[in-house]
């Protein structure tokens, strides 16, 4: 086809575009991912039995706040990276805030503990499974967010995949918090962060292949 004909055809059937189109696409993928992930958890490991009681305590909200702060920045990152010609340095730099705050809380806990307590602070009772379960719960979110990103126009695929992985992991960790009974800043700082780091790496690896458009 001649390029002039192509231009005529593209402009001929032009439809107006809503300015909220990108948010809508991301919202759909994220919502589907959250639903899938929540169902997956309900069907497998379940919600902790004392959830009503736990929600009255600070530890639950610390987990919640930490993963939700990362997820909010992750969403901003995905939105930026999904659009050509934008830069994502600000949300990327802001990620340091929740991580450093929790790391400081961990440092204070560790310094005031003796050796035996330190070990149990770090390992809790679910250290071996926590990160892997977060990564597992992130799989439906990966599917939803990759679907969204493929409708957008990511031009740096590895970064886009990593951002989607960060968002998938932090959202999955938020959901996982309804199952997990760990309650120390040290445990969350190590194992939740590790789970999110794992999904971020996974996303970077997958993005290069799965986000082409």
């Amino acid at each position: 086809m001649q390029t002039d004909d192509l231009i005529a055809r593209l402009s001929g059937g032009l439809e107006p575009v809503r300015s909220t189109e990108v948010s809508r696409t991301l919202g759909l993928g994220l919502a589907a991912g959250i639903a899938g992930s929540a169902l997956l958890m309900a069907a497998t490991i379940g919600i902790r039995h004392d959830i009503i009681y736990a929600m009255g305590g600070g530890a639950f909200w610390l987990k919640f706040l930490y993963t939700l702060a990362i997820a909010a920045l992750g969403l901003k990152l995905v939105e930026r990276i999904g659009r050509p010609g934008t830069d994502a340095r600000l949300p990327l730099a802001l990620l340091a805030v929740p991580v450093l705050v929790l790391a400081a809380m961990m440092a204070m806990q560790m310094m005031s503990a003796d050796d035996a307590t330190r070990h149990s602070l770090m390992m809790g009772h679910s250290a071996r499974t926590c990160s892997m379960l977060i990564a597992g719960l992130a799989l439906p979110l990966f599917a939803g967010l990759f679907w969204s990103l493929r409708q957008l126009a990511p031009t740096r695929l590895v970064q886009a995949g990593a951002a989607a992985g960060l968002l998938a992991g932090s959202t999955a960790a938020t959901i996982y918090a309804f199952h997990c009974t760990e309650s120390t800043a040290t445990f969350i700082a190590i194992w939740y962060t590790a789970g999110i780091a794992l999904t971020t790496l996974l996303g970077a690896g997958l993005g290069r292949w799965m986000l082409r458009w």
Binding site: S19, R83, P84, G85, R212
Partner: protein
């Protein structure tokens, strides 16, 4: 800033609101830049396919343009992505050349943009109805029959109107030369 930014951004915002004429002008303008950009890197023979692919990408992904950001950077991002994609698909041994947004909107294109602006200035002296006809037929390359159908004038009347408009512009130019 890239010299074409303001004009292209205006066209893009109009296109996003559904203005097909602005969109056609935008795509026609971008095609010239894209052709040069890809021809310099892939050779003229391979360029045209990638130009078309990029136009389609611009079209299908137009919702991802954020009006808070420069439009030329958005287009360049897509153009560059399609270039990298072409290199990757062709398994070309050569590394993708380094470039930046300015390379898509190069100086010779800037000259053309200045020439276009002069034309626009001249056209502005015509009454709106005549201006639309001249633009349609002489700049955008529509047929007289198209223009007649759109305006409801006869083809002969369209021809005469355009002819007179051009003549009056010629006189206008002659005047300004006499003044200078």
């Amino acid at each position: 800033m890239i010299p074409q930014e303001a004009q292209y951004r205006d066209w893009m915002l109009a296109a996003l609101a559904g203005d097909a004429a602005a969109y056609r002008s935008l795509l026609a303008g971008l095609t010239r830049h894209l052709r040069g950009y890809y021809a310099r890197r892939l050779g003229p023979a391979a360029a045209e396919d990638v130009v078309q692919e990029t136009l389609i990408a611009i079209h299908t992904r137009r919702a991802t343009y954020d009006p808070q950001r420069p439009f030329t950077a958005w287009v360049y991002g897509i153009a560059r992505y399609k270039l990298v994609d072409e290199y990757r698909r062709g398994k070309r041994a050569a590394a993708v050349p380094l470039d930046e947004a300015g390379d898509l909107f190069t100086a010779d294109e800037a000259q053309a943009a200045i020439a276009r602006r002069d034309v626009e200035k001249l056209l502005a002296k015509l009454p709106a109805a005549k201006r639309a006809l001249v633009r349609e037929i002489k700049l955008e390359g529509h047929s007289i029959a198209d223009a007649a159908a759109r305006t409801g004038m006869s083809e002969a009347a369209v021809k005469v109107t355009v002819h007179r408009a051009l003549k009056s512009l010629g006189e206008e130019l002659g005047d300004s030369h006499a003044d200078g």
